[in-house]
Symmetry: C2
Subunit: 169 residues, 2 copies
DNA sequence: CCAAAAGTGTTGGGCCTACACCCATGT
DNA sequence: ACATGGGTGTAGGCCCAACACTTTTGG
C-alpha cells in the first residue's frame, strides 16, 4: 500500500540564485524501493538516510533542507493517522516488528506493552493471522496482517508512550 | 495578524476541459477585507459566504468546490492551533465575543463555561486588559486583548464542548 | 533454572463534559 | 424581583503512562 501525496509548493523568489524556480514537492512513502539509476533519473541519484541530512552530515542545495524537514514531519504524522506503517513489515508480522517501524520513523523508543494494546485497540487496523506462533527468542508472538482500515481512529500518538513532551513555552 | 498560506496544488488532467491547467490555491485568513473590485481583480469579483457554496446554493466551476472545501477545513483546523480567531474581534474583546468567532467558523455551539476556562488555560493566548468592565446585558465581562502566543498549546479542539463525536466506524 | 520476549492487570493522574451554583448588572 | 450573561466549583468518565506481574519459549 504505497502512498504519494503533494507535499507543497516552494516558490520563494531567490531560493535558487540562478533565477525564479518553482518546486512542487511530493512525498512518497513506500517500502523496499529500488536503487535509483543515475543517467535515467538524473545526472546523479541515490538514497540518503534522513538523519544524515537532518544532522547536517550531508548538505543540500538551496532550500532543500527545509523541504526535507517538511517531508519528514509529514511522514511522521502520517504514521499517526494511517496504517502505512504496516507496509514496512513483511506481509505477516508481529506487533513488535511493527513497533520497530514506528520507533525508526519517530526516532523514539516506545513501551512495548502499551504499544501492544494501542494497536490492538484500533478496530480494523490489524487482523490476526492463523496459528499464534513464531519468533526468535522468548515467547512466540501472535502474528498479524494489515487490516482493512487505512485511516486510524483513534490515531497513534507520538507521545503515546514515554512522557509526553508538551511544547508549551 | 492576517494569515496567508499555501493550500495546495490542483493539477489533475481534465479538471478544466479547455486544457491542462495547474492551480496553486492559497488560503488567506483576515478580518474586515474590502470588497474586491471587478475589472482590476478579475472580470467579476465579490464575496460569497461559504455556506452558500457548501450547501450547493451557489455553484462553482470545475473542481472549485473541492478547493473551497479543502480551504474551509484548513481554516477550521487553523483555529484549533493558532490564535488567529482573535483577529476577528475588535482589539479589546470579551471571551464570549471570541466564542462567537469560533462558533461561526466551526458551525457548532460551544458551552460558554468550558470555553471560558479553555481559552484562559492556554498560556500567552489572552492578555487581561485594564479594568474588568463593559458589556450589553448581564454582568460585565473582563476584557482581553490578543497575547504574544500565536501557536496554541494545548490546542483548542472542536470536540472540546458538546459531546465528542468519534469518527470510528 | 535463568534470560528474554510476549502478553495481562492495575493504578494514579490529567483532561474534559456536563451541570450546579454564585456574581453583577439592566429593567 | 427577575432575567441575562459572566464566572467558579466539582463530579464522573475516559484515556493513558508507568510498572508489577504472569506466560511461554530458548539455552
Amino acid at each position: 500500500m504505497p502512498h504519494l501525496e503533494q507535499l507543497g509548493v516552494y516558490g520563494e523568489p531567490g531560493r535558487d540564485p540562478r533565477g525564479r524556480v518553482i518546486t512542487v514537492a511530493h512525498l512518497a512513502i513506500a517500502p523496499r524501493l529500488p536503487e535509483p539509476t543515475a543517467g535515467t533519473d538524473a545526472a546523479a541519484a541515490g538514497w540518503t538516510p534522513v538523519d544524515q541530512i537532518l544532522s547536517g552530515n550531508v548538505t543540500l542545495a538551496f532550500d532543500h533542507l527545509r523541504i526535507v524537514r517538511d517531508g519528514v514531519e509529514r511522514a511522521r504524522s502520517k504514521l499517526e493517522s494511517s496504517a502505512l506503517g504496516t507496509a514496512f513489515c513483511t506481509e505477516v508480522f508481529t506487533i513488535s516488528e511493527l513497533q520497530q517501524v514506528y520507533e525508526a520513523v519517530w526516532g523514539t523508543p516506545l513501551d512495548p506493552r502499551n504499544f501492544y494494546r494501542k494497536v490492538q485497540s484500533i478496530p480494523g487496523f490489524l487482523l490476526e493471522d492463523g496459528p499464534p506462533r513464531r519468533t526468535g527468542n522468548g515467547r512466540p508472538a501472535k502474528t498479524y496482517r494489515s487490516g482493512p482500515r487505512h485511516d486510524l481512529y483513534p490515531p497513534m500518538v507520538r507521545s503515546a508512550d514515554g512522557p509526553a513532551d508538551r511544547g508549551a513555552e
